[in-house]
Symmetry: C2
Subunit: 698 residues, 2 copies
């Protein structure tokens, strides 16, 4: 669908000025310089010729088919140019010009107008306000960047054009190549989702890396990303993570930043590798692009210096990477070839006087050990160290063991540079610091774990959907968007969520009757449409053991409420079954503008409010997701059972989370929902929702 963005049959650059420095002129020159083999044309009503080639007054005058238009005219002329491009049969337009949404209301209007024209002609639009795109496969460079990327297998997508210029500058120095290079600009049409889809099947691309500031179609993004991630790694920076950052985003591109938790969940659920900085992005991209995916998570470390070996070990531990345990044979072989003062276990220390041959012998032994999936080779430039020869040995090993991942860590910058060049030219990434090699390896291991996951399974429960719909409709009719307890309980019950028995009593006699039916102990709660925080007005009494206490509590609650909120309407009092001996948990739902319902899990009370020990996932939630979100909170041992105490019924929590997930997916009108507490009983005994709050939208 995006094909002509990369390898079009004909390209027209519209707005090629005569003078150097003119952006259109530079793009035209870049297309020439990159050696694009297809036809390309310059358009400018005022110019006649550029570099001896004809300049056309209008795209319509070009006597060949044109699939791709690169538009560099002032923003006000863009609609006219788009019309002409449409008439010419253009399939994709790259609008470089600025002066659209990013400048305010007027610009946004102009942008909409352009997109309407595009839709009318079936033109896909990249930009506006972008740097252009490059495809090293067909040598097409429509950017106005000073640098042109080398050929490689990393695709780079960026919502910041300026960042691309920095990345190109870095890539030039480090000799890193790209497959495609795309500046998204304002994302008026083509966005990261389109590109993920296009790049999934691009043979040239092994790794997709991206810088984004916001996402507009969260749900589709997740579906596409999960699908693409199974085929090739996606590494992504999402900036604007903090409140202060989010403010900067809105003033920059007019995109609303998604909430941090939603993005983190989305990335986790779809296997996207999140990079926290451009430095991480570079490191990870090369780490994935140059080396194979290892079979497992066991790494061996080889070093000619103790200190850096310790640092690498520290970093492995920090990132949860397992140090491989060698076979006895491996250790014996290492002992046979290394000096007695060497380290034979993992990390293997070949000592400061190691030359290339000693590195080679040690690598050969280590890589032949089946327990080793990956190898990090550390080199410090000591007096007798053979930097270049050792680099060659490493590259040979990398070719001899094509299923094992090898990273180098040549430390320094100056003398080691010659070795680093040999390594990178031969697709062995070099990291100047052990910590960065380990951070990258950790990203690789997370990714292989994602790929190994079985396909996600989504349970579907029987649910009384109509009943919920009617409840919501009724509530909306009377303008009651915060559902009263009893209705909220009915909604949950309709989705098979076990709720505490709860009946509204309008007077003390009814209360006694209900109590007899439910059985003691009981909880009493004021039922009033005017009271949101019941406990603040003395509207809740727990632990009622008999009829005397019931009567006393009933009257006390009514008195309290009359005193604190004389004007509150009182419907009566909810008489509710009291659950004892359970762990209080919370299952909550919040609707994220980008991703839809985000589900929260945690232990109740202070664990949520003070310690903020909660986990998030975006609905719909698979069984595995639900289980993971329970086990990833810090307080999970309390649910599993500590100090001889019985564990909680995890299955019941999983079941309830999944039912909530189905409910909020079925009803997008649920804005917020809290089951707080969900009382998790002991293993095998289930759990009960003791209080539920649901807010629906208008």
């Amino acid at each position: 669908m995006l094909d002509p963005l990369f390898c079009p049959t004909g390209v027209a650059v519209i707005g090629v000025g005569r003078e150097e420095g003119n952006v259109g002129h530079e793009i035209f020159d870049n297309i020439r310089a990159a050696g694009f083999k297809g036809k390309y044309f310059a358009v400018n009503p005022k110019a006649k010729e550029i570099h001896g080639e004809k300049v056309y007054a209008s795209i319509k005058d070009i006597p060949y088919p044109v699939e791709l238009a690169v538009i560099v005219v002032p923003s006000k002329i863009v609609p006219q140019v788009m019309e002409e491009s449409g008439e010419k049969g253009v399939k994709v337009a790259i609008i470089i010009s600025a002066g659209f949404k990013e400048t305010g209301i007027e610009g946004a209007r102009l942008e909409r107008q352009v997109i309407e024209i595009a839709h009318r002609y079936g033109i896909r639009v990249l930009g506006p306000n972008c740097l252009g795109a490059a495809d090293t496969g067909c040598s097409l460079n429509t950017t106005f960047a000073k640098e042109i990327p080398y050929k490689g297998n990393i695709a780079m997508i960026s919502q910041s054009g300026a960042l691309l210029t920095a990345i190109l500058d870095w890539a030039k120095a480090e000799e890193v190549g790209f497959s495609k290079f795309v500046s998204l600009g304002n994302k008026a049409d083509i966005n990261e989702i389109d590109l993920l889809q296009a790049l999934k099947n691009d043979n040239q691309t092994k790794v997709i890396s991206a810088y984004i500031e916001g996402i507009s179609q969260g749900r589709r993004f997740m579906d596409v990303a999960a699908d693409v991630s199974k085929v090739k790694p996606i590494i992504m920076i999402k900036s604007g993570v903090t409140d202060a950052g989010a403010r900067a985003v809105s003033s920059h591109t007019g995109t609303l930043a998604g909430s941090e938790q939603a993005f983190n969940s989305a990335f986790k659920q779809t296997g996207i590798i999140r990079a926290n900085s451009v430095e991480d992005l570079f490191d990870y991209a090369i780490g994935f692009a140059y080396q194979p995916l290892p079979k497992g998570k066991n790494v061996a470390i080889l070093t000619n210096a103790g200190g850096p070996g310790i640092m690498a070990t520290d970093a492995a531990e920090k990132f949860g990477i397992t140090l491989a345990s060698f076979d006895k044979e491996t250790i014996d072989q290492l002992k046979a070839i290394l000096p007695p003062a060497a380290g034979f276990y993992n990390p293997v220390d070949v000592l400061g006087d190691a030359k290339a041959d000693r590195y080679k012998m040690a690598m050969d032994i280590i890589l032949n050990d089946e327990n080793v999936d990956s190898l990090v080779v550390i080199l410090t430039p000591q007096a007798v160290t053979e930097i270049e020869e050792t680099a060659w040995e490493i590259t040979r090993m990398s070719k001899a063991f094509p299923n094992k991942l090898i990273y180098a860590c040549f430390m320094g910058r100056s003398d080691v540079a010659a070795g680093v060049r040999i390594l990178t030219e031969n697709q062995v990434p070099n990291y100047y610091y052990p910590e960065r090699a380990m951070a990258t390896l950790s990203a690789v291991i997370s990714y292989i774990n994602y790929r190994k996951q079985p396909p996600k399974t989504y349970k579907t429960f029987y649910a009384k959907k109509m009943l919920v719909k009617e409840t919501f409709d009724d509530a909306r009719k009377i303008g009651r968007l915060n559902l009263p307890d009893i209705q909220a309980f009915e909604v949950a019950d309709a989705y098979g969520i076990k709720v505490a028995k709860s009946v509204l009593a309008r007077n003390i006699d009814e209360a006694k009757e209900v109590a007899g039916y439910i059985g003691y102990p009981l909880v009493l709660k004021i039922a009033s449409p005017d009271i949101l925080h019941k406990s603040d007005v003395g509207g809740i009494v727990v632990g009622i053991e008999d009829e005397d206490q019931l009567e006393d509590a009933y009257n006390r609650i009514i008195d309290n409420v009359r005193r604190f909120l004389p004007q509150a309407r009182i419907w009566g009092i909810s008489i509710q079954e009291m659950v004892r001996g359970a762990r209080e948990t919370i299952i909550g739902v919040n609707r994220d503008p980008q991703f839809g319902p985000v589900i929260l899990f945690g232990l109740g009370g202070i664990y949520v409010e003070v310690l903020k020990d909660v986990s998030f996932r975006i609905a719909p939630i698979s069984e595995q997701d639900a289980y993971d979100m329970i086990t990833e909170i810090n307080a999970y041992p309390l649910l599993r059972g500590v100090r001889g105490q019985p564990g909680a019924d995890i299955d019941a929590i999983v079941d309830t989370i999944l039912r909530v997930s189905q409910l909020v997916m079925d009803f997008p009108d649920i804005v917020e929902m809290d089951i707080n507490p969900f009382m998790a009983l002991n293993k095998g005994q289930g759990g009960i929702a003791a209080d539920i709050r649901i807010t629906i939208g208008e």
Copy 2:
């Protein structure tokens, strides 16, 4: 004291071989090449001449005074050479030779022998098994590294010689200079403490950076580091932080790695800036060395690209750095000179078409704002960006505003290189990624906060020291190193720690009498020298409200214990006051082999056991330290008071921590101590130690 290590009157290299590649030969060449202005001599019984200069058969033959001997002979000959050096009047010996403690028992013995000789002659020893040292101030380089450091104001100390070679290689490429450069080797004599002391008053040194794997005199290290930190920043990598890493340390240098918590506390308490990698170390060292300390924590960000501006903002937020709020005047001035699409708030976006003059004008306005303490200038190499001219403008600003910290962030590697060179040559550090600039700024801000702290005050309480001594002596006499409850309570009481009333009752009648005296409610605990975990055998009953319950509980406990542990000796039952309505906290002590008593604070029960939400400090603890350790736990809001609940008596906790600190400083024989729980009552009501466990050493 270490002076001749750096600027000796005469230097002798002992063990200068004739052939190139010989380590002694290389060191001698390095001394020549560095241009040392003092006298230096070569020693070798077998050689006559090197580079036309006389080689002496023994150091004693040198007809000039020699203060510094650099020893490069085989380890077995070192004792003899040391004797001769002593007779010659050498003050410092750098022993390059390996073959000592790092090789095993034999080597350790040889090392001790060498140190004995050194002590006899009053020689200080650097090494053995080290790379040597360099002092760019007097152009003395006694290392055998291939590279010689440039002159600069960063001192570098390393326990890994190999790491120094990597650092030199990096420094050469980045043109970073050093004042001193010292390889510690086995630290048989001179260690990091000596060097911190020596460097404190070294005018050439502005920043002290170090890589260490272990520390042997924790207490002195802290005293010296705290003192030096007040004068100049100390940046330190401590490797072997994890269990796996710690193992690698022991096999590498035979140093016992200190526990991670103890090191973290020691660094925090002494203002040492901890670097987590060599990359951090470099970044921080330059950040401190090149720029002034800012007055406060408010940073301004200036950028020519939105994306990197957002990243910088995100990073600032992550590191807790405050974005400066500009004066209205500043914003007005920026509006007057920048294009309308620019960003006028913080971050200031001068837009992609900004040339050097626009950067200059914006910097001038921003730096004149009194709310701005620091400025980070981001540059992406866009089409019209003037990289070098902008770099010059920044360096000029740095000179014009000598009290404001300025970091550059020129992103890329290739085209920006020319600008980066201008910056670093003019002492403006460049960070290639906004996150790294912010991480460094965060280290700088922590350091200025440390410097701003008032001198620490240590309270001294009246204590019955003799009573405690006698208690310990008695306990040791009968081999009871785990103090029984009653004694532990006495010890705490002797230091003014408020303890729960507790009396041993040997029978039910005594129990009743005691209960009458203490008053209900009560806690009953089995008193037996054979039972450590009382609750496991049903040896504790809480919440006893009256005499009936007392009798019942007394008998129940005796029955339980007889049933579970028929052979246990029973002394009786402790009758203890029961404290209600308090927050359970824990105040614990553990003795670290390097640093001595480490004090722990946390909330009791699951907060310690499951959530591991605790803080640490090394004793003695100042009032500020005690307060900080309370507020830095995650659950602190529970102590401060949440949801309208009253706060706990923080002062009582501080007081108890300080008394514990004094107790364990007075009695180094306390190996472990736990007050668990320390019941913190409501604000103003104090707190009570409800259970205390003390273990003393033999």
